[in-house]
């Protein structure tokens, strides 16, 4: 078993379940505004994961685009429509 001396693979093991939980939560929460905010958290955790894999430029972009602008766009849309979802 060669783990190639990754410093942070424990960290990796910790974040990945959180990312998956956030993804499932974003899809299952019925309140759309909450779902979009959870999606923002998902993006931010993703961005942590990429920083940990040393993809600094990508993480920077994701922090600005994924966790920032896309969440704002989704919140803007969620506020324009009926907030309750059936599933």
């Amino acid at each position: 078993m060669n783990l190639y001396g990754s410093l942070l693979w424990q960290f990796d093991l910790l974040i990945i379940p959180m990312v998956i939980i956030c993804a499932i939560a974003a899809l299952t929460i019925r309140d759309l505004l909450s779902a979009t905010v959870v999606f923002g958290a998902y993006s931010f955790l993703m961005c942590l994961l990429w920083t940990e894999m040393l993809a600094v430029d990508v993480a920077f972009t994701e922090a600005a685009v994924g966790a920032g602008v896309s969440t704002i766009l989704m919140v803007a849309t969620a506020l324009h429509i009926k907030r309750k979802s059936k599933d």
């Binding site: 783990l3 600094v56 920032g68 602008v69 766009l73 803007a76 009926k82």
Partner: protein, 249 residues
């Protein structure tokens, strides 16, 4: 239907996870992906372009053609949203059925925004200009610039923001950005190189070809920043106001 989808998705997922045993180990320095092209970029990019941030060097130079179309994608999205949502002034009266209500003026928010916007924009400019040496570049800087305008619109209101940054200016900047990018490519084409071959600029600017690559990249990053800034703000404008630009969130 849902059960069936779940079943199919789980089946496909299990198959794909099973195929990962064939993939090289995670973090293996000798895997094909980490050894062939990547080694060349790491060894040569600094020498050939004098840009230490390898991601910027590959993004704006070796694969600059991709990045140009990436900018075009952003531009295209902005136009698409505008074409879909925006309506002419007369018809839209009852378009937006439900609009989030804002109560009163939030002084804390407004003052915090006032304090934050200028440093944000300064930081964005730093990110664009310093993208050769540190993480960052046109996209990140452009998004932050756009976000500063979005913050202004969130803290105050859409109307007052639009007085500072007019709608037509937004569109103009978005087109201008792509034009700067493509224009740098076209000029190198006119100067006798291939499209986007920044080396051709060396003679014109009186610098070595390696430096020309560096300057060319700075130029295209500025173009990218213009487009991304304008379109991020424009996306917010259209989506937050439902297309009529009367009132934001």
């Amino acid at each position: 239907m849902k059960r069936l989808t779940l079943f199919l998705v789980v089946l496909l997922g299990a198959y794909l996870v099973w195929t990962t045993q064939d993939l090289p180990d995670w973090g293996d320095p000798a895997s094909p992906a980490n050894s062939y092209l990547s080694t060349h970029y790491i060894k040569k990019a600094y020498e050939e372009t004098s840009v230490p941030n390898l991601v910027t060097a590959v993004l704006a130079d070796y694969r600059g053609y991709d990045t140009m179309f990436e900018t075009v994608v952003v531009f295209c999205a902005g136009l698409a949203v505008l074409t879909i949502l925006r309506r002419t002034k007369r018809k839209h009266k009852k378009n937006v059925k439900f609009r989030p209500q804002r109560e009163g003026v939030d002084i804390i928010l407004q003052n915090a925004a006032r304090l934050m916007i200028a440093p944000m924009q300064l930081f964005a400019l730093y990110v664009i200009a310093h993208g050769h040496h540190s993480p960052g570049g046109g996209f990140q800087g452009g998004v932050i610039l756009g976000a500063s305008f979005i913050l202004l619109a969130l803290a105050y209101d859409l109307k007052s923001t639009l007085r500072r940054f007019k709608e037509n200016t937004v569109l103009f900047y978005s087109g201008l950005g792509v034009l700067i990018y493509a224009g740098i490519g076209v000029i190198s084409l006119v100067l006798g190189g291939n499209f986007l071959a920044y080396a051709a600029w060396g003679g014109l600017l009186g610098i070595s070809e390696v430096e020309a690559h560096s300057y060319g990249m700075l130029g295209v990053e500025i173009g990218v920043a213009f487009t991304v800034m304008a379109i991020m703000f424009s996306l917010y404008l259209d989506l937050a106001s439902g297309g009529d630009l009367d009132e934001g969130l």
